[in-house]
């Protein structure tokens, strides 16, 4: 127990730094290389990725922190991400605990619903300070592009994460099997 605690702390710190770099990545990407000047929402992507592994309780807390830091870094006028990401962490983590599988139709659908809701919360906040033309444009052009970008980025990340986890799991099983065989001999 004493050995695992420092490891857990180091792992948490590394995940924290990784998440922070992930959020900063959104600003590093060259302006000319963006689709309509937009980038996938990294806070949502990271929340989905982490909550699908750690469950809804940790997912809620991580989503909240990621949303807060994301809004602070990107100079948002309205702090809507803490609420949006916390709800995403809850939904994805909850589904993960119920189904115990990371990929599947349910997960894809849920991620889509969660992202549409999160972006709507965020953009509705921004709409309070925009003109009528701005509202229509944001709802019908910016929102779909942003959701599609985030969704595709999240699903690709989830798929890569799933492949890595499965490979690791198989390797562990193989090693366990070999150890069992050796013990039997």
């Amino acid at each position: 127990m004493r050995d695992t605690k420092p490891k857990t702390i180091i792992k948490a710190v590394l995940i924290g730094i990784g998440c922070f770099l992930g959020l900063l990545f959104e600003g590093w990407w060259p302006l000319n290389a963006r689709l309509f000047g937009l980038m996938p929402d990294m806070a949502i992507c990271l929340t989905v990725l982490i909550a699908s592994r750690v469950g809804w309780k940790k997912g809620c807390v991580i989503g909240l922190i990621l949303g807060l830091v994301h809004d602070a870094l990107l100079a948002s006028t309205i702090y809507a991400d803490p609420l949006a990401c916390m709800l995403i962490g809850f939904l994805v983590g909850n589904l993960f605990e119920q189904t115990k599988q990371q990929m599947g139709k349910q997960m894809c659908l849920l991620v889509l619903v969660a992202e549409v809701s999160a972006h709507t919360i965020r953009i509705l906040g921004e709409l309070l300070i925009q003109s009528r033309t701005g509202v229509v444009f944001t709802l019908f052009v910016v929102l779909p592009i942003q959701v599609l970008l985030t969704l595709s980025f999240t699903l690709v990340s989830l798929f890569i994460s799933h492949v890595i986890t499965t490979k690791k799991h198989k390797e562990e099983k193989r090693q366990q099997y070999q150890a069992d065989v050796a013990a039997e001999r």
């Binding site: 922070f20 770099l21 900063l24 990545f25 959104e26 600003g27 590093w28 990407w29 060259p30 302006l31 000319n32 309509f36 000047g37 937009l38 980038m39 809804w56 309780k57 809620c60 807390v61 909240l64 949303g67 807060l68 830091v69 809004d71 602070a72 870094l73 990107l74 100079a75 948002s76 006028t77 309205i78 702090y79 809507a80 991400d81 803490p82 609420l83 916390m86 709800l87 809850f90 909850n94 906040g125 300070i129 925009q130 003109s131 033309t133 701005g134 444009f137 944001t138 052009v141 910016v142």
Partner: protein
């Protein structure tokens, strides 16, 4: 949905609502945000490393992609250099004459005593650009920011080691401008539907003004913050307002297309 009655979830929801509402209200009241300030100061070293890495990649890529273009450009520039050298002698004479006349009529530019602070763009998001200089370098809120290609925007927030620059093509920004080809005055305002392409509207000009596609729009220098003769962009399209018949032009912002790495912030002075 038993989880919705879960105590832990309710606490998380309340905390999330608190962190959504309180900073928003705080910002709307015009107060500086402590969370934003702290997070951005923590991000300074990470952003520095990130910008160095991205610079490396950019340099590596451009070495291979733009070699032919650079050779041709070099040849053209050599020719241009020869012709410009001849003009320098004339200009030196005019400069001296200009200085004498300035002294004679006691003319002084509004911004002659101010200095420009160079800063590096370390992050660009859909709302603001982040630069690596802040209050420690004397950057203040509301100061104009320009690049080699033209006007970029104004400083909206500054902290230690960072400042946010809101680009002129984002909503809520307007600058007094002039079409240098027709001399018609007007105002460059941002619009949500054009912001995505890095464009603005140039309106409020006289009805008789004959703006044309390809005209260059510059800052007029009227107003308190922007100096004059800073390039804003080029007119892409001219339309007429249905009611007032005033021409309204769409301007492509030069700084958006060139995506500069280094910018200059006008120091407000003491």
């Amino acid at each position: 949905m038993k989880l919705l009655t879960n105590k832990f979830f309710i606490i998380c929801l309340c905390v999330a609502l608190f962190f959504s509402v309180v900073p928003t209200v705080w910002l709307m009241l015009g107060r500086s945000d402590l969370i934003r300030s702290t997070v951005n100061t923590v991000a300074v070293p990470f952003r520095w490393v990130g910008s160095k890495i991205s610079d490396g990649f950019k340099g590596f890529g451009s070495y291979f992609s733009s070699m032919d273009r650079l050779l041709k450009e070099n040849e053209d520039l050599t020719k241009e250099n020869e012709s410009l050298r001849a003009e320098i002698y004339d200009l030196k004479r005019i400069e001296k004459e200009n200085d004498n006349l300035k002294k004679y009529i006691n003319l002084d530019s509004n911004y002659q005593n101010n200095k420009w602070i160079a800063a590096k763009v370390v992050a660009t998001t859909d709302l603001v650009w982040t630069i690596n200089c802040g209050t420690e370098a004397g950057i203040k809120t509301g100061r104009p920011v320009v690049s080699s290609s033209g006007a970029i925007g104004t400083v909206t927030e500054a902290g230690v080691g960072w400042a946010y620059v809101k680009p002129i093509w984002k909503s809520g920004v307007s600058i007094s401008a002039v079409d240098v080809d027709t001399d018609c005055m007007g105002e460059v305002t941002s619009s949500t539907d054009l912001a995505i392409k890095g464009q603005c509207r140039f309106s409020g000009t006289e009805e008789s003004a004959k703006m044309q596609v390809g005209d260059i729009v510059m800052t007029s220098g009227m107003g308190s913050s922007w100096p004059g003769n800073v390039v804003i962009g080029e007119i892409l399209d001219v339309q007429y307002d249905a009611f007032s018949r005033v021409p309204v032009a769409v301007v492509q912002i030069a700084a958006f297309t060139n995506n500069p790495d280094v910018v200059l912030v006008l120091d407000g002075g003491s």
